[in-house]
């Protein structure tokens, strides 16, 4: 049983104000998103149910759902939604809010991946997949590495595992660029 | 009573509120404005609609007179080309507008202050967007300043 006091009525309106989320209230709950989503069968809430939670203001439930992390941003739902709701962009917004509020399910390393990726790019200007995989594995579940040994070996053999990561000339300047405006704004 | 007079002309004090005089044709744009109403679309209250049977009825003098007598902008709304209830009144309106635009330009009146829009009876939403857009543009321009005192301009125009 859900009590109305558990809902955050203003939340959907805050989300609606975000870029790409304008049409969330137009959802007619037809389920096309869930039907077209290759991952919905692995989700605890189908995308359609997330839209419903969102609209009804059940913030906690939506943000702590596994769904938003299972979303691989393939944009199938967005392309097929009869109400032209940009569901993928909504999922992004929820991911960001979840990370900000530390609400994501701990057993999912995606936020870790995202953060590691963020860190690497911030310091180097470019991603370094090898480093990313290692750091992510170490921070989430080192055993992933074992599972990866075989493919890792393949990659090594075929020269697809870069050991000298790439950099841009002046990462500092890039950091300034991507941090200053947010202070300015 | 006096405080009523105040409301009746909000432009006197406070921040600048543009005054737009609109001429809507009876068959398309006036209906569209009605539709906007029945659909409860909200738009800027700065517009005053004068109903004419056809945009072709709008005499260029009306527009100049409105500008001379204190309007900050004038909007004409007619049926889409080919949709005129009187077959081609909107074309006639268009031709006059082209000429008038040049005149206004010579008078130093910004072109955003005068607009001709085709709005069909189905386009209630377009009424909202057009009015809001025009009000914002005119607001940005500020009150209409004529090269000559309004009275004189009025003389010229009359």
């Amino acid at each position: 049983m859900k009590f109305q006091r558990e809902a955050v009525p203003e939340w959907p309106h805050q989300v609606k104000a975000l870029p790409g989320c304008e049409r969330i209230f137009s959802c007619i709950q037809c389920g096309t998103c869930s039907g077209t989503c290759p991952l919905s069968i692995y989700m605890d809430f189908t995308p359609r149910r997330i839209m419903s939670l969102l609209r009804e203001g059940f913030r906690n439930e939506a943000l702590s759902s596994e769904t938003i992390w299972l979303c691989a941003s393939c944009y199938a739902c967005t392309a097929h939604c009869p109400q032209d709701i940009h569901i993928t962009d909504v999922m992004y917004s929820l991911k960001r809010e979840a990370i900000k509020n530390n609400l994501y399910p701990k057993r999912f390393p995606i936020p870790v991946l995202a953060r590691e990726f963020y860190a690497i790019v911030k310091s180097r200007g470019r991603n370094w997949e090898t480093l990313l995989v290692l750091r992510m594995a170490l921070r989430s579940n080192p055993f992933i590495l074992l599972g990866m040994v075989k493919s890792g070996w393949h990659l090594l053999r075929t020269g697809r595992l870069g050991f000298s990561g790439e950099k841009i000339r002046n990462p500092k300047e890039l950091q300034r660029e991507i941090t200053i405006p947010k202070e300015a704004v | 009573m006096p405080e009523l007079v105040q409301i009746s002309s909000p432009v006197e004090e406070g921040p600048f509120e543009p005054r737009i005089v609109a001429f809507f044709c009876n068959w398309c744009t006036y209906l569209a404005a009605d539709l906007a109403g029945t659909s409860r679309l909200k738009y800027a209250p700065n517009i005053r609609v004068i109903r004419v049977m056809c945009s072709g009825r709008v005499d260029p003098q009306f527009i100049l007179d409105a500008l001379a007598k204190g309007a900050d902008g004038v909007l004409i709304g007619g049926c889409h080309p080919g949709d005129c209830h009187y077959q081609e009144g909107n074309y006639k309106a268009y031709r006059r507008v082209v000429v008038l635009k040049r005149m206004l330009h010579d008078w130093g009146i910004e072109e955003d202050r005068f607009r001709l829009e085709w709005i069909s009876a189905a386009e209630g939403d377009k009424v909202r967007t057009v009015v809001n857009d025009m009000v914002e543009k005119v607001r940005a321009l500020g009150p209409l300043k004529l090269g000559v005192p309004q009275e004189e301009f009025a003389e010229e125009m009359a």
């Binding site: 189908t46 009869p82 | 409301i7």
Partner: protein, 664 residues
Amino acid sequence: MSNSNGTVRIGVYICHCGSNIGAVVNCPAVAEYAAGLPHVAVSRDYKYMCSDPGQELIIQDIREHKLDRVVVASCSPLLHEHTFREALAHAGLNSFFLQMVNIREHDSWVHSDHAAATAKAQDLVRAAVRRVVLHKPLERRQVDIDASVLVVGGGIAGIHAALTLANAGKKVYLVEREPSIGGHMAKFDKTFPTMDCAACILTPKMTQVRSHKNITLWTLSEVSQVSGYVGNYEVKVKRWPRYILEDACIGCQECIEACVFKQGKTEDEFNEKLSKRKPIYIPFPQAVPQMVLIDPDNCIQFKSGRCKKTCVEACGERKAIRFDQQEAIETIKVGAIILATGFKTFDAKRIPDYGYGVYPNVYTSLEVERLVNASGPTAGEIVLRDGSTPKAVGIIHCVGSRDERTNRHCSRVCCMYSLKLAHLIKEHTGAEVFNFYIDMRTPGKGFEEFYQQLLNEGVHMVRGRVAEVADWALDPSEEGKLVLRVEDTLAGFARRIPVDMVVLSVGLEPQEDADEVRRLFNISCSPGGFFLERHPKLAPVSTFTDGIFLAGCCQGPKDIPDTVAQAGAAAAEALALIDAGHVEMEPNTAHVIEEECSGCKTCLPMCPYSAITFKEEEHHAWINEVLCKGCGTCVAACPSGSIVQNLFEDEEIYEEIKGVLNYA
């Protein structure tokens, strides 16, 4: 300035319209403000001006306060101008001494800032007060009405409207584009929810049309030109050749037998291209007129000129076949026109996810209507393209409805006809039938009961919009099937459902040429593209062009009961109009002040109705007020300002301009 001796006395009335206006506009304040305006003798605000007591109020004031002008600030003049004009007339005042102010649609409903809305109302009222002072007494001109009616479109709507009028003794012209009347209804097998056979209830009406002495039926015909005005429309109708002499053909169809084509080679339009027909054919067994026609694109005689003409032999003495028949134009005069041009079904190819045109066993609902129809291509057997009977069938609702990318509207009939097809398919094949719906809409009489019946027949109802119809299999049970991927939104998980046949419940759309037709008859369209009614509630079959009425799906999606009801209503409206014998024209025509006319002839080319002529001897222009439709374009063009449009005189409009701007 005053029309009569002495000064003008104006009564101003501000309507609250319940809370519609009153909740936003401060009506008492506006009334109080108006009271202070020049010439205003009485100024009141009242809950409902359009109510009897409201009108009575005006009538009383006119008498007691000797008012000779009235301003009513309420809803759009298009709604109640007539009402208040009547009130003035009732009080013995010329009804054109009225000016209305639209403070509902143009004010209280579109603004939320109360102060600004009230200020706007005051500006508009001020303008009206200043304008009405200049109003002149005017008389409506009466013109006679031609007592005949044109009905465009021979579907069930047009048929019912035509018969209703004809039975009332009126002359009716029924124009149909196809070779037979009957429209979409003639293609259906059963009709929901009663399941009575469409043909059984439709064909009697079709034959009545054919035999009715008051109805002239023109099939293979199209309206090509409309001129004139209410009560006096002149219409040109283009009639394509049938290549058959209508009076000579007795519909024996021996010519079809005799045709050099031993069997059909051309896709049969009536059977949704599920069968083939010959170049000489009859659209369907119950066609009206019961008469063959030749399709020149496929007839050898037309293509090569070297056919044995076995059809002509078969026809023999009757000599009904005429290869030399030409296109003809008929010109008729009618007092009213009823548009019953119907709809077209959504083209399922526009939604690639459903594989229509890619997978042969994906059908549209209309195709299945033909399949289940006893007189259809399979004689009522529901079989797949390979002749086998489906064991599992999926019916997808809302195809081309409730979809931002195609049509936003709900097509209203799909839920019910999908249930009907589900029932028929189950009955004919015993297959497992799955209905995939977004919302089940069964609001009509007996509809919900029918839905209950279907539920109990064991038809699957899955609430979810199918995401895709595809041929990829994840396990042996899906091999060679069409797999529907859908979220079962009530169960809360995604499902894969393999079926043999998919039925796409396509929505209803405006006809391909709705836009040209709209222009031809000078009416408007609603946002969805269907024809626009004069008022959604109070004038649902009228248009903004007097004398032109709407019936059936051309105005919006409808089921058969609603269509027939609306057709009857349209007929009644047309009847009321022409039975009056004459119609009163609005007096807003233009006239030339001869002594002021400089004779420059600028106005002549302005008039699209050539109502303006130039009197050489007197050297001035002259306007024929019977032809003038009152657009005022010539007035705006006249350099010497010597043309005047009643109700829209220059001075009146100048006063209105000064009024809204509060210019001294």
